[in-house]
Symmetry: C2
Subunit: 272 residues, 2 copies
């Protein structure tokens, strides 16, 4: 299975440009840490990203929560992406019919497809959501992650729902590059599995110091996620930068390095 190989081996073979870039970045920087930057002011957004940039393979954004958003913010984000060498993942969780998601992805004030290497979608509307997003993103070399599972309490993305998400991904392997999930997916819906498939597993709900946020989010450690469950990227948010305003530079850098080191050690333990 894909996760028994090194990130470098997988990068060499991956057909999607965004997934390949992510795997190469992970190998080059020796980090499988993605920081989720959930702040509402542009200055805080850029400051947190600039601080964590050296420690991450990817930055996860919610561009639609930034109150003073302007196109120049995207230019600054892209500069940081180049300077610090990370991939950009807009966590948009598209969840509408094909025609609508194509417009939401390409248009609006945020123009997500023009700058986000990766984005994600819920499979709930059926395969039309993948076709709609692929029509916009594939020509740009983008990649899509499907939400096969969620880490929240009472999630409905389980059982037959997860199986359907995996089948949907397998039918669109030129654009769907992986899953937001809590575990590997090769053992799901096995009648459609291809031994050569390599879906990236990105896993939110990772924390070293807490088990929940009181609003339904639940946490696991990097070792549980990377070594034991075989996931590829750990997604960490406020565990690294707190509220995002008046950040303590050294504390944020220390936390980012702590998660990077834990995530990488968990990966090395896995491929031994």
């Amino acid at each position: 299975m894909a996760h028994r190989q090194t990130y470098a081996q997988r990068a060499a073979k991956h057909p999607n440009p965004a997934a390949k870039a992510l795997l190469e970045t992970i190998e080059r920087k020796k980090t499988n840490l993605c920081v989720s930057v959930d702040v509402t002011k542009s200055d805080d957004f850029l400051k947190v990203i600039d601080l964590v940039g050296p420690y991450v393979c990817m930055v996860k954004t919610h561009v639609d929560i930034i109150e003073d958003f302007a196109p120049t913010l995207i230019e600054r984000l892209q500069e940081l992406s180049v300077n610090h060498d990370f991939v950009i993942f807009e966590d948009r969780k598209f969840a509408d019919i094909g025609n609508t998601v194509a417009l939401q992805y390409a248009a609006g004030v945020h123009k997500i497809a023009s700058w986000a290497h990766l984005t994600n979608a819920h499979p709930v509307p059926g395969p039309g959501i993948v076709s709609g997003l692929a029509a916009v993103g594939r020509p740009l070399g983008r990649g899509l992650l499907l939400l096969a599972e969620m880490s929240t309490k009472g999630s409905l993305a389980t059982g037959a729902y997860t199986e359907a998400a995996v089948r949907m991904a397998r039918e669109h392997r030129d654009f769907v590059v992986g899953f937001i999930a809590q575990r590997r997916m090769e053992s799901v819906a096995t009648e459609s599995v291809d031994p050569e498939e390599d879906f990236l597993i990105l896993t939110p709900g990772v924390g070293l110091d807490t088990r929940g946020d009181g609003m339904g989010q639940q946490y696991r450690t990097p070792k549980e996620v990377i070594t034991e469950a075989g996931c590829d990227v750990i997604i960490v948010g406020r565990g690294i930068y707190g509220k995002g305003d008046n950040v303590d530079v050294q504390a944020v850098q220390a936390q980012a390095e702590r998660y990077r080191a834990e995530g990488w050690a968990a990966y090395l333990a896995r491929i031994q």
Copy 2:
């Protein structure tokens, strides 16, 4: 069941201010038509709404596809809402964890909670999504619709998923006022049904002239939706205004009136 009563009878009893306003508007204007305005330019957006305004109880927006969005657009939309007497429904399809959807609903450039009487969410993350949105919207008198079903081909919102959505709504009746669905929900998850419950059923995928859009959307007639399936509001998009640019004023008005009349006749047939 709720749909055997008149809209006026239901308005008089409904505890949620946004749902009550919608039911009163439907009765006052004798229209259960909602027009979905899926255009990407502010001028087209306002022009279509101004044309269809007299014929609708509600306007459904996708504010995130408008390329030249500015806060003044919302002021104009609110003026049209007052002048033409319709409710505003932002079809955002929230689908993230509680903490994130609260920010997406309240903040960002679009500040949805400040102007949309109704919005909607997918139940897939579990009940935390409702709590997160309610924390923002309930103090403002807003209402939430849950996507219990979808009209697209291959939708995963079926069976146990739909049942879980209905249970989740019943546990949050002060804020969840109804469903995006294809039929009434009183017969779903009957162990938790309250004979007094009145969930509004808003139904997309309504068309008089076509059966599909080639991207997974499937269509039914107002009679099928309102009379036979017992739904409350028909949602119609391009069937009324075409592409939205260079609109033929009389043609758009004629189509809006045609759907209004069909939807109202279907309602009268139901309550006979």
